[in-house]
Symmetry: C2
């Protein structure tokens, strides 16, 4: 199913980070569904959370704990989102943190909880109670892949990536994992993702890296325009490599950021490649806009259009729908007579009119590919934006009409 | 296919309005695809058009003609949208008006052109040239139903409605027709619709009726969130009934407006009932919001969510998705602890938490019906808004993946 996406290659451990996994039986039996991640003392941690106003209990609690204490552990379950679960849901999230804290000998406020799965049902606390000690018991630096598998819900493939770069003569590793394939429209991270490095970064710099990184990756993907109640992206730095980053604008700072961005983009696009029912992986570039917000509005208007997405599914270069979606974006500066559009390498619209060189067979050839680029040049200014998205297929409907059954 | 929608009942003619139909062969042969509508001298006419920035040549021209002259005729074709067709497209729209003007003995500036169908292809002018005189030759007051049929593209059923009310002792008729079932998200009228009355209304009052009426009807429907390049709604008043409306706030004014609103709501909801692939007809009411815009943002967030729409298709009361869509609407005033939600007559959420009386079988019963009401009470203020929408089915994907083939 996933478009051009292979199982994760060998993942490099991040010194200072250990992961433990359990088959807790939260929703289904005989599958890993619980992860405990431990951070060594002295690590820094930054996170972004869903902007959905109806956010889940663990999101609220994780936000509070992150602000209050130095983070020493994460506890993550799949199968249940613990969202719209009221006071009981909050108590269950608190109790999960307390159980991890007890098993690890840290304070409950140093544990961040995360949940993903069905909304509106209470978390199975007997599963958590038996699963947490099991997960803590098998904490290991080499468990990234098993952890990525334990996070999966409608994902068809585990998503994780590693990179190692040499910074100031020291090898620095960044490894991350993510889950998500539906309810994907970023407004901060829109799924669960955990990225760790053995570089040392002070809290403020880590936060800056995270915000820049999210803007360049997870905030540029959409599957269905729906924003989940539970999304979170956590970035952790253990310092165990001996490399300490002090300034993001320095040469090593830029090298570090580029490596981090590669990891984040690879995880974010992996989610789109594994989007529910996806048969196409599409990048939409909007260039020469007056303002970034204009470019963004147009890119997402096209990426969210069900009519564009069904045309992509059909490999049908029904490009009028791209124009429709361009025009419906509320961008007052738009002047059709300045617009150029390319699909793949094929010129489609030149100065607002169909290119004289365009013919259907050329468009069909581009739209038949599994990976498609659409470039809109507004001819107005210097701002640009791009998004990655997927098509809308019968399988998207099947997956989402059948998900709970 | 269409949900709870029957073929139009007997349509009352509107004195002063005649309609002529032709099988012009614009895209397909052996089907009516061209309508000419004539208005008697002294009629008034008001219209709203798509806000899509990439609007079609006929939209631009109709807007100009409406501003310049008293309208005496409309020419409407299906099968081709004459959108993104550049200068040639504009010349073709002008020529179509000129041909109608010549056949009817009026000025070309008194003719409004409308097109619906595929975007980005030039209009078949030889079909228009042979079709227009044919349509003018069979102008008749009784042709509303045939005209509604000629407008259809992916519609499965013709949409038209009549009402007759007695105002100041005089019978006043309002008859309208509409087409549309996909690329439906209102920002003004989002399709083609033509409504006429034999009441007399001065231009300013007609315009006021139109704007109020559109806000209460076509601006409250969505199928797929996509706004077409060609949408238009035209309201015409011939004055032939002898009843003249002078004040919308008077008692007869309100009676007239109520009758007009009924016609507009019936046409607008007919489009949703006949939405591409629809198996469900859904009304979403948001009540007790602080501001109408907040209620509207939430109503459309739910109505546009592919995850809510696929759950509706599956008759699966996966109500977490409703909460997700509520929360992702950008409404800062939202306080989950004040929110009550009902589906049909069943309480789902009470003060932000699942109702203790709710159980799955109750939800399943509501979601299995063909017509579903979802009511969100925000518990904040006095503003409200409602929208009508449809579900997202396999047939929606099939129709839009196959439409051009």
């Amino acid at each position: 199913m996933a478009v051009g996406l292979n199982p994760p290659a060998k993942l490099a451990p991040v010194q200072g980070i250990e992961l433990g996994i359990a088959e807790a039986g939260i929703r289904y039996s005989n599958r890993a569904d619980l992860v405990v991640l431990s951070l060594c003392e002295g690590s820094t941690c930054a996170a972004v959370f869903t902007k959905n106003k109806c956010c889940a209990a663990p999101v609220t609690l994780a936000r509070d704990h992150l602000a209050a204490a130095s983070v020493r552990a994460l506890v993550i379950n799949s199968g249940n989102a613990n969202a719209v679960t009221g006071e009981t849901g909050m108590r269950n999230a608190e109790q999960s943190c307390a159980m991890v804290a007890q098993a690890m000998g840290v304070d409950a406020s140093q544990v961040l909880p995360f949940s993903t799965g069905v909304i509106g049902e209470q978390l199975n606390m007997s599963a958590m109670t038996s699963g947490i000690p099991q997960a803590v018991a098998n904490l290991d630096v080499d468990n990234w892949l098993s952890a990525a598998e334990a996070l999966m819900t409608t994902d068809t493939i585990a998503k994780a990536v590693s990179t190692t770069v040499t910074l100031a003569g020291k090898p620095v590793t960044i490894t991350g994992m993510a889950k998500g394939s539906g309810m994907i429209c970023p407004n901060m991270a829109t799924m669960l993702a955990y990225v760790a490095t053995d570089a040392a970064l002070p809290q403020a710099l880590l936060q800056e890296c995270l915000h820049r990184g999210v803007d360049d990756s997870f905030n540029r993907i959409t599957v269905d325009g729906d924003t989940s109640t539970n999304d979170a992206l956590v970035l952790m730095a253990t310092g165990k490599s001996g490399f300490e980053l002090k300034d993001l604008e320095s040469e090593v700072g830029q090298q570090f950021y580029n490596a981090l961005e590669r990891v984040l983009v690879e995880l974010a696009t992996a989610i789109v490649r594994d989007a529910e029912g996806a048969t196409k992986f599409v990048r939409i570039d909007v260039r020469h806009a007056e303002r970034v917000d204009d470019a963004k509005a147009i890119a997402f208007s096209i990426a969210h259009s069900p009519l564009v997405k069904t045309a992509l599914f059909a490999s049908d270069p029904n490009w009028g729908r791209i124009l429709m979606a361009l025009g419906k974006a509320d961008v007052s500066a738009l002047e059709m007579s300045r617009v150029n559009i390319q699909i793949g390498d094929v010129a489609l619209i030149v100065k607002g009119e169909p290119a004289t060189t365009y013919h259907e067979a050329l468009g069909k050839q581009v739209f038949s590919q599994a990976e498609i680029g659409i470039t809109i040049d507004l001819g107005l200014g210097a701002a640009s934006f791009h998004v990655w998205t997927s098509d809308l297929s019968h399988d998207y409907v099947s997956i989402n009409a059948d998900y709970r059954s």
